[in-house]
């Protein structure tokens, strides 16, 4: 082995290149571990939940106090970054899941964990059926699992159920799972630009085999999904955001693309530092009920963009940009309730490299959305100041972890989340040379040692 030192420099160069490659992939792995802060709001705004890293924080707006989660499995409820949280539409259940491969179902009355489901892989998306009887979760290998929850009042001992496979996107990371408003369909989006609409069967534990349609049109990974309710269409209209900087509207029955909104281009006009046309990913979308408005969070945008959905013409258009002034706030997650009339936003991240402050988040809210009732006075959406937010200082203290945090940290957080998303979801394009080089280090042979 020592004789190889005398060999040409070429050999040394290739070693450095390999080392650099290994370092690069380790770096990428660490970057991918950064988890964005998430927010979710109870359907009738009884409570608001924020997840940062492994920390799940809930504030009860009815009793105006912080919630203590009761989890009989002992210790912190989650052991690793939470990647998805959601309230069920009937308001009784809440689900959280993530990198610790645990899916936890909580009762929103007493905030007890009523069921913990073990997943084989890290979980990337969750959804609760509208009737509250099933919880679905998707893993990073593209399998969507389902577990059934018989109706219960939260006083029984927690169940540890085993999930059954529901459907799969072959070897693709599933980024979002949503049920249609009428509960007939479950929609799953993946990083291979695809959206699949599947009929949700009466016996989901046997699998969902009937595909209704594929919504194809995104030219990059699909990052988020939301439904707009429509009076004459029980399945509603689907809107999706993607890594291609567009928000698209679909008819899920036929899979037809109804309209595309080039949102990224508009951001470039606003934000001076959004110079890279790539990676202006749509981070999150959220429909604001009763007013056909869709709130869109986009990388680099300090605020949100509001799109109007015109149902008769089935088109989307940018109505307004709500900028957040006075602080660097790029939302990482959005949430709204059916009745509260507010749009909630959070920014933050966990496990930032080089930062010893972990689990930071900043919560804000926007009010003043024009209800679609004719004759109602025109309202302007306005970003609420801290004291105007329901729950006020107590809520912010609980959900943020502290009242005031250094702004620079939030920009770093938003940046880290952006990089993490890119590394995870955008397929790396290698040059032919690099691909050949990578194949050299591939080891198909049996260990001859």
């Amino acid at each position: 082995m020592e004789d190889s030192r005398i060999e040409e420099c070429e050999h040394d160069n290739s070693n450095t290149q390999e080392d650099a490659q290994v370092e690069e992939s380790e770096q990428n792995n660490k970057d991918m571990e950064v988890a964005p802060a998430l927010i979710s709001v109870h359907p009738t705004q009884n409570s608001v939940a924020v997840a940062v890293g492994s920390d799940l924080r809930v504030f009860d707006l009815l009793d105006n106090c912080a919630v203590t989660l009761v989890d009989e499995s002992g210790g912190a409820s989650h052991n690793d970054s939470i990647r998805c949280i959601k309230y069920g539409t009937n308001g009784k259940l809440f689900v959280s899941a993530g990198d610790d491969k645990l899916v936890k179902v909580w009762s929103t009355d007493c905030w007890r964990c009523i069921s913990t489901v073990i997943s084989e892989k890290r979980v990337s998306a969750v959804a609760i059926s509208n009737d509250g009887l099933h919880v679905c979760f998707a893993d990073k290998f593209g399998v969507v699992w389902v577990v059934d929850l018989p109706g219960f009042d939260g006083t029984e001992a927690p169940l540890n159920k085993k999930a059954a496979p529901l459907l799969a996107h072959y070897c693709s990371i599933i980024t979002s799972l949503e049920f249609s408003p009428d509960g007939r369909f479950i929609v799953s989006a993946d990083r291979d630009f695809k959206i699949r609409v599947t009929v949700f069967p009466t016996k989901p534990l046997n699998g969902a085999h009937e595909i209704q349609s594929f919504c194809l049109g995104h030219t990059e990974f699909v990052s988020c999904l939301a439904f707009i309710s429509a009076p004459d269409s029980p399945q509603g209209f689907l809107v999706s955001g993607g890594g291609d900087s567009t928000v698209r509207m679909w008819d899920i029955i036929s899979g037809t693309l109804l309209d595309t909104c080039e949102v990224g281009a508009k951001v470039e006009l606003i934000e001076s530092d959004a110079t890279e046309a790539n990676c202006l990913t749509i981070t999150d979308i959220c429909t604001i009920p009763d007013c056909n408005l869709i709130a869109v969070a986009i990388q680099s945008l300090r605020g949100i963009m509001l799109l109007t959905c015109d149902l008769p013409s089935r088109t989307l258009s940018v109505t307004k940009v709500v900028s957040i002034t006075g602080e660097n706030f790029v939302p990482t997650s959005l949430g709204s309730s059916i009745s509260g009339g507010l749009l909630w936003m959070v920014t933050g991240a966990s496990k930032l490299r080089g930062s010893d402050i972990s689990s930071l988040s900043r919560v804000k809210a926007v009010s003043g959305f024009n209800k679609s009732s004719p004759g109602a006075p025109e309202q302007e959406p306005v970003v609420l100041i801290d004291t105007e937010i329901p729950g006020g200082a107590k809520l912010l203290e609980k959900l943020q972890g502290s009242m005031s945090i250094d702004e620079k940290v939030f920009l770093a957080a938003a940046d880290a989340v952006k990089t993490a998303m890119c590394n995870l979801l955008i397929k790396k394009q290698y040059t032919d040379e690099k691909r050949e080089f990578r194949k050299r280090t591939r080891n198909d042979k049996k260990n001859t040692q």
Binding site: V143, P165, L167, A168, Y170, C171, S172, D192, F193, K194, R196, T198, T202, N206, G207, A208, H209, E210, I211, S213, F214, L216, G217, T219, G255, K427, Q429, R435
Partner: protein, 252 residues
């Protein structure tokens, strides 16, 4: 394209490609994110590129005919070539993951088109990963026949998820097949044959063809005789296991 006067890869007298210049490993990893273009949606599939005589213009609106047969993992194209003359009015396509093998099939089709004017215009091949991109190529209920001949057995249990027939992938195949469409599978590996049979049996959108129907179907005989793989098995005196099912409307 075929002016290969000095090109040893094409046999000068027949105009057909020489297999030894297109050798590739039998196995290809379907999990790897390979480098090939994928159509954004079925309406983006370029029929004029695949069937130039039938679709001279690149403009797609009002494509009067659509692809109806798909050979998944078509290998060196044996089945497609036989089907092309058996069903001259039907458009068919082969999907293959391996680059060199796809090139071979392309050259083979081109050679046959030149040697037999007017024939083989209805068959083509595309390099793609059919486990990920079938919905990109075919609309709902578009296909009337799908073929899975001698698929990779992926013997190790941990690799079973790479098998081209699986309970989850059958959802997608059921989606692109019309009601009444037929899925043909054959293998020389008994365990794989049992696996495919059990997947299809347990899937509510498929039912088996009766013995009578199998005997009446001219395509069934081709499964074991038309492909290079099938011929090799016959030469070695091996046994084949056939599983043929029909796509049905599930009873709800």
């Amino acid at each position: 394209m075929l002016q290969n006067k000095g090109n040893p890869t094409i046999n000068k007298s027949t105009g057909l490609p020489r297999k030894r210049f297109y050798r590739a490993r039998a196995h290809s990893n379907p999990l790897s994110d390979s480098h090939f273009p994928v159509p954004l949606s079925p309406s983006h599939v370029d029929y004029s590129q695949h069937y130039p005589q039938l679709f001279p213009a690149a403009d797609q609106t009002g494509t009067y005919k659509k692809i109806q047969f798909a050979d998944i993992g078509c290998g060196f194209g044996g089945l497609l070539i036989s089907l092309s003359t058996l069903f001259p009015e039907t458009l068919m396509i082969g999907m293959e993951l391996r680059d060199k093998v796809t090139e071979y099939v392309k050259e083979r089709i081109l050679g046959l088109r030149v040697a037999n004017p007017g024939r083989y215009q209805n068959v083509s091949v595309v390099r793609t990963n059919s486990m990920k991109y079938i919905p990109n190529y075919f609309e709902k209920g578009q296909l009337s026949k799908m073929f899975f001949l001698f698929p990779d057995p992926h013997f190790k249990e941990k690799n079973h998820r790479r098998r081209v027939i699986s309970p989850q992938l059958l959802d997608e195949y059921a989606y692109v097949l019309q009601v009444g469409g037929i899925i043909y599978t054959i293998t020389d590996v008994e365990e794989l044959g049992e696996w495919m049979k059990s997947c299809l049996q347990n899937h509510l959108m498929f039912e088996p063809l009766s013995q009578k129907e199998l005997e009446a179907d001219p395509v069934v005989k081709l499964l074991s005789t038309a492909t290079e793989e099938g011929q090799k098995v016959a030469r070695n005196g091996g046994q084949t296991f056939q599983v043929v099912y029909r796509r049905i409307t599930p009873a709800s």
